[in-house]
Each structure stands twice: as C-alpha cells, then as structure tokens.
C-alpha cells in the first residue's frame, strides 16, 4: 500500500510538477517572446542574471517575484471565502486532467489508468468554468460579472461539440480508455499509414482544436477577457491570485496539447516503430512530449494570428457550424465503419 502511494506521488511529481508546471511557466515567457517576434518586436529581454540575458528568459523569475510581492487587494465583497477560493477552483481542474493522460507505454508514465479516461477529461475540463464564474460573481464587480456570463455561455456551448467530436474516436478505437486508444493508434492501415486520430478523423481534429481553444478562453475566443472592453472575469484579482488564474490558463493550454496528442496524434507512438522497452520507451516518452509541445505551439500561433470573434459570431460558430459538423462527422464515421465491417472497403 505504502509503495503504491509513494509511486503515485512520484508520478504526480514527475508529470505535474516537472513537466506541466515547467512548460506552463515557460509559456508565460514564450508567449510574450513569440508574439513579439511575430509582430516584428524584440519582446522582453532586459532581465539578466550576472549580466547574462539569454533572450530575457529570466523574466520568468522576475514575473514570479513581482506577482508574489505585489499588494493582494481584497475588493469589498459579500463573499470573501468564494473570492479566495476561485483561483484554486480554476487551477485544480486543469491539473486534474493530467491524472489520466498516458505519457508513455506501461504503468509508469500514467498517474492513474482510469477506464473512462476520455470521459473523465470531458467531465473535468467542464469544471473549469466554476473557477472563473464563482471568482467573478464573488468579486462584486459588473465588468467581472459580464466576463463570467460570457465565460459560462461560451464554455457550455463549446463543450457540446467538443464532446461530440470525440465520439468518432471512440467509435473507431472502440474504447474510452486513453491508454487503449494510444495502443490502437500504433497499428498501420494498408500496411503503411499510421492509424492516428488525425488521419482517420481529420474533421474531428479541426473541430476539436477549435472547441478546445474556445474552452481555454484564448483568442480568437477570448471574449471572457476582452481586455479592451471589459478587462475580464479576473478584473478584481491581484498579485498571485491573478497569477494563479493566468497560470491555470497556461496549464489549460498544455492540457489541451496533451489531450490532442493522445487522441489525435498517436500519443507516445512513434510511427512505423512497434514494441516498447528500454531506450525505445524513453524515445516514446520524448515523442509524446514533442507532440504535446507541437499542439501547444499551434495554439499559441493561432492566438497571435486570428482576431477576436464578435459575440454573435462566436455563438453562431458554436451552434450553427461546429455542432452540425460534429454530428455529420459521427454519421460519416458510422457509415464508413459499417462498410468496413461488411468488408466492402
């Protein structure tokens, strides 16, 4: 029993603290740097340690120190407990997601092999709405409230199509266990094409990415924040409370990256390489990390490419385009699967 607990703690530390937190913290710097380079600017480059600048990577530490030492302002609110709880409510669900994501073959790179892993991801990611909504309502501010109303409407709308997009994956791989789905993706179609989710479900991949960017509340779907008009649901939060809310967003990006990598990019599978063990396992974990980082990069690039949607456009996109297309995708998948089973393809 003790061994089991120790092993789990080690896995949690390894995955969440070492990988996820490090990437999320790096993202705060990468985002500023990437946006700067895209817009022909230099970006943060002043923070230095012993005269070394290294492209301003020490702004990470400078930001953290700044966040921790700033005044922690409490607004006049009737519900200080909820106000203080909100950042935790935002950060816990996105961290929980990593409990079921397999970072490598076998038991050691997966915190918990939940049978309904994919459903767990959908369930937990929808909990994220509580953090922003409760925080905004408890902060007793009309702008925050507007932000929280937008958050709620947006997240609920896009969850629907996000869930439906995964149905095609479940139908093809006949499982909702993430580890099983990754193992299934190791096989080859016609002997040469990797059976990755993106190959078999290209439409679902695009729709899933769209819906998940909306779920992480980032541009072009950043209406809950809308800095130029309502500042956002976290307008009353300061110092590290704000830092935690911002960090939860970055962890959410990593979570979407890992989920998309597992469901659509073959997880830890290296194409055309079968089997596991030894150095191959290490390479496979590396492949999973690379794929995650690729999807993370894709989200960041999209954020700095597209302008924000108008609110009615957002709702129309969610309900009138994404949802019917997801249903169409399920239908087509079903028809194709039927033909495959009858041996006609």
């Amino acid at each position: 029993m003790l061994e089991l607990i120790l092993l789990s703690v080690a896995k949690v530390m390894g995955i969440v603290m070492v990988f996820v937190m490090a990437v999320a913290a790096l993202l705060t710097w990468i985002e500023r740097k990437q946006s700067a380079l895209i817009q022909n600017r230099v970006g943060p480059n002043r923070a230095s340690v012993a005269g070394l600048r290294l492209g301003g990577i020490f702004h990470l530490a400078a930001d953290a120190v700044k966040m921790l030492t700033k005044e922690d302002f409490d607004p006049e609110t009737d519900n200080p407990l909820m106000f203080r709880l909100a950042p935790f409510l935002a950060v816990v669900p996105v961290m929980l997601l990593f409990a079921v994501i397999p970072f490598g073959p076998g038991e050691h790179f997966l915190i918990s092999n939940v049978g309904v892993g994919a459903l767990f991801i959908l369930a937990v990611s929808s909990l994220g709405v509580y953090g922003s909504t409760i925080g905004a309502w408890a902060s007793n501010n009309n702008f925050a409230m507007l932000g929280s109303i937008r958050t709620t409407a947006q997240m609920i709308s896009y969850e629907v199509s996000m869930g439906l997009n995964l149905v095609g994956i479940f139908m093809i791989y006949e499982s909702v266990n993430l580890q099983d789905i990754v193992i299934e993706q190791g096989s080859l179609i016609w002997g040469w094409l990797p059976a990755w989710g993106i190959v078999l479900q290209p439409l679902a991949f695009i729709l899933f990415m769209t819906a998940s960017i909306a779920e992480t509340k980032r541009a072009p779907f950043d209406l809950p924040e809308g800095e130029s008009e309502i500042v956002g649901y976290f307008v009353e939060f300061s110092s590290m409370r704000f830092g935690l809310l911002a960090l939860s967003e970055f962890i959410g990006i990593v979570a979407v990256g890992a989920t998309a990598a597992v469901l659509f990019l073959g997880g830890w599978q290296i194409p055309w390489v079968q089997g596991t063990g030894g150095w191959l396992t290490v390479a496979q974990v590396g492949a999973m990390i690379l794929k995650t980082l690729f999807v993370v990069w894709l989200q960041m690039a999209i954020r700095w490419t597209l302008p924000r949607f108008r609110y009615d456009q957002l709702m129309r996109l969610g309900w009138q385009y994404l949802l019917p297309l997801s249903l169409l995708n399920i239908f087509i998948t079903g028809v194709v699967l039927m033909f495959v089973e009858q041996g006609r393809i």
Binding site: L37, I38, V42, I206, A301
Partner: protein, 173 residues
C-alpha cells in the same frame, strides 16, 4: 455644398473565405514565417533598444527650454514678460529687476518654468523679441522622484544656453 455620398460595396465572402480554414492556414503561414525570420537573424525587427540606441529627434522638435546668453555670458532675457503672457499654461514665472547697465535696463532676477505644467507648445520662443528663450535643446524633460525638481530655474535654463547670432539692443549697442 451637398454632401458627397460614396456607397462602398462590401465584398461578399466566397465559400473559401467563409469556411475559415484556408484563410486561417494562410494567416498561420504568415505569422510563422515572420516568427522564423525574426528568430533567425532578427530581420524585420523595428524596435530600438532605447537607452543604448537613441533615435535622433527631428530638427523642429521642441525640447527642454534654454535661456540664451549675451556675448559676455549674462542672460539675454530682458524680462519683457512677453513669453509668460503668451504662455497658455501660465507656467513661466519671471521676477524682473533693474540692471546696472542702463542700456539693458531690465533683467530677470528669477526665471522659472514649471515643466510639469508646460505643454511644450513653443509659444514662448515665438513670443520672445530678442531670441532669449529657445526650445531647440533636443532634450525632453527627464523623470524625477518628486515634483519640485521639475520647476526649473534660471540657472538650469542658462546651463544649456549658448550665444546667439542675433544682434541685441538696436542701433546703439
């Protein structure tokens, strides 16, 4: 005159544009290209690294005021009050005194400009009849930790002053 109305035809989006995807990919290609161009060799970056690299201000830039000097190093100003009268911000405060040299008559005992109030309109240098105040120093006012150093006096103003080629004092000077 009748207003001219020019109807602008909105461009109708074709399917390729309204289906987002090709255009999104095109946008991604542009931002990604720009990212790599600037990452490898900083080719299009326009930022100046400010304190180390400074941009030259244009010649007509109105910077910090300076009080010009006579040939013998005295202040050129004759305390005629034209500048403080012209000043729309009322930030020039002059106390005049009698000069021992009767051909000069007046000089400013105190000449203060509150730079926090000044709007850098340049009316003072326009108003001055004897080229005594100028704003061509090319410097902007520096930040300070309190307000009082921003109220600069005659000495500071003269420090960056210089001789003028304009003749002062009319025929007999």
């Amino acid at each position: 005159m009748a207003a001219t109305v020019r109807p602008v035809q909105r461009k109708e989006f074709k399917f390729r544009e309204s289906s987002y995807l090709p255009e999104v990919l095109r946008g991604l290609a542009i931002t990604t290209r720009q990212f790599w161009r600037n990452l490898v060799g900083q080719r299009d970056i326009v930022t100046l690294q400010y304190p180390e690299v400074k941009k030259r201000y244009p010649n007509r830039f109105r910077g910090r005021h300076r009080l010009m000097l006579r040939d013998d190093g005295q202040v050129r100003c004759v305390a005629c009050m034209l500048c403080s009268t012209a000043c729309p911000a009322n930030c020039i405060h002059i106390v005049a005194a009698e000069h021992t040299n009767t051909s000069i008559e007046k000089f400013p005992q105190k000449f203060e400009i509150d730079l926090l109030v000044c709007i850098y309109c340049g009316f003072c240098e326009e108003a001055c009849p004897c080229d005594a105040i100028r704003m061509d120093s090319g410097r902007h006012s520096l930040p300070t930790f309190s307000r009082s150093p921003q109220n600069i006096g005659k000495i500071d103003l003269m420090e960056i002053g210089s001789l003028s080629i304009a003749k002062q004092g009319g025929k007999n000077a």
